[in-house]
């Protein structure tokens, strides 16, 4: 029997959700009997092939995030927004209080301890969006896994439901936003 293919990525996130995913510890062994990973920081595969489930950590802060998100949407049958940043922008969205220019100036020109002050503008750097945005504002999202980060139990609950062919239903006691 073919295994369920899962792809994961971290956009404007901190990889904390991925670390929390690994917190399922020895339960990973049993999970891996049913699933295999496509594109993911865990496999270092660079592009996403056809998958059953895509897990997206982080919101949208630059053009590359949007590009990657669209690649996942095009390839994943079920796309899940993982964590506070994917769902509402999270901590990175706190920059939305300020103009993008003043953020860059604070970081690269006027910040304490900045040497050789200049705002990076290499063509290889993805352009920043004017505001950090949650991912459901760009593509259709099938399910949401809140938390900062979501606990390993939350991942197992939702993946367990999907593996059993059920519509995910996160138990209320597992719902938290912090």
């Amino acid at each position: 029997m073919n295994k369920i293919r899962i792809a994961t990525t971290s956009l404007a996130g901190c990889f904390g959700c991925h670390m929390s995913f690994l917190d399922m510890d020895e339960r990973l062994v049993e999970l891996l009997e049913h699933v295999e990973f496509d594109r993911s920081p865990l496999t270092d595969i660079k592009h996403c092939g056809p998958c059953d489930i895509g897990l997206i950590e982080g919101g949208l802060c630059n053009a590359d995030n949007l590009h990657v998100l669209r690649e996942f949407r095009a390839n994943c049958r079920i796309l899940i927004a993982v964590g506070a940043c994917a769902i509402n922008g999270g901590v990175p969205a706190m920059r939305n209080h300020f103009d993008l220019r003043s953020c860059l100036e604070e970081s690269f020109l006027n910040g304490i301890g900045v040497e050789n002050p200049q705002i990076p503008d290499d063509v290889e750097l993805p352009l920043l969006l004017d505001k950090v945005r949650p991912i459901h504002e760009a593509v259709r999202i099938d399910y949401y896994l809140p938390g900062c980060p979501p606990s390993a139990d939350e991942f197992l609950s939702v993946l367990g439901d999907l593996l059993a062919g059920r519509i995910p239903a996160l138990p209320k006691k597992l719902i938290h936003y912090d």
């Binding site: 509402n88 922008g89 504002e137 999202i141 996160l170």
Partner: protein
């Protein structure tokens, strides 16, 4: 028989449960006294009901005994029980024989949508908020099973007032429930807060010559400081005295009887 008739005359029925009430009580008062939880954000026993958050919306079936065929709701495309009417439980007086629906999938879905709109309208970033775990808005959202904000985020830019030596005002998280406005006016006798503006421009203002908290009469012991259901009004330098995981709604469910009184009592105790 007479006694029985009298009892029936002084009860309302919420989701099939007979609940006694006294003259002058609202539906929320009667439910609260009977330990029946109706979700709410802008209500606190002891303060004048405000009826603005609409989370406590319930359906009353026989409020009008017979509706005529000219009832407009009969002509809409939605299936509406024309004999039922939606009201705010916190402002509607309890009346004998009311048949009330509250904890229904349809009403809870509407409540969840209202809560989502409150979240996307402000800047409610729980991971960076020191009220997380003690926040009623967050707890209501958990209770309703809210997973996401659904609507596009507003990301409004709102003013922070950190001028006061012991109290901080972060309007990003204000949901305009007016609990602080009422507490200051009715309990503290100070009138420190008010809401100005309309629609998405509505915002909390401070009654002082400069408009800053530092120049107002606000003191740490005031009920207005402690009553905020979200992280808009915070007491400085004690945000993490109780660790995440050991906070009010980590240990208690919103619907627990007497919880709101406990919260108030605790804050009074802290100030002493």
């Amino acid at each position: 028989m007479e006694a029985k008739a009298e009892t029936a005359a002084n009860t309302i029925n919420i989701d099939g449960q007979e609940i006694p009430f006294e003259h002058g009580q609202t539906i929320m008062d009667a439910a609260f006294a009977a330990g029946v939880y109706i979700p709410h954000l802008c209500h606190r026993p002891g303060l004048t009901p405000h009826g603005s958050c609409k989370l406590c919306t319930v359906d009353i079936r026989n409020r009008i005994s017979a509706s005529s065929t000219s009832d407009r709701r009969r002509q809409t495309k939605f299936t509406v029980d024309a004999d039922s009417r939606s009201v705010s439980a916190c402002t509607t007086p309890a009346a004998a024989g009311q048949q009330i629906s509250s904890n229904t999938p349809a009403l809870n879905e509407v409540r969840k949508t209202i809560t989502q709109m409150l979240f996307i309208e402000g800047n409610h970033l729980c991971p960076s908020c020191e009220k997380s775990g003690d926040c009623t808005l967050q707890a209501v959202a958990y209770h309703l099973g809210m997973l996401d904000g659904h609507f596009p985020q507003f990301f409004p830019r709102r003013e922070v007032d950190a001028s006061h030596p012991t109290v901080m005002l972060d309007r990003d998280r204000c949901i305009l429930c007016e609990l602080c406005v009422r507490a200051s006016r009715e309990v503290d006798g100070k009138n420190v807060f008010a809401i100005a503006g309309r629609g998405t421009a509505a915002h909390l203002i401070v009654n002082s010559p400069s408009g800053k908290l530092a120049d107002s009469d606000l003191e740490t012991g005031d009920m207005a400081v402690h009553i905020c259901p979200v992280g808009a009004i915070l007491i400085k330098e004690q945000g993490y005295e109780v660790p995440i995981g050991r906070r009010t709604f980590d240990l208690h469910h919103l619907g627990e009887a007497g919880l709101e009184k406990v919260v108030l009592a605790k804050t009074v105790y802290r100030d002493e």
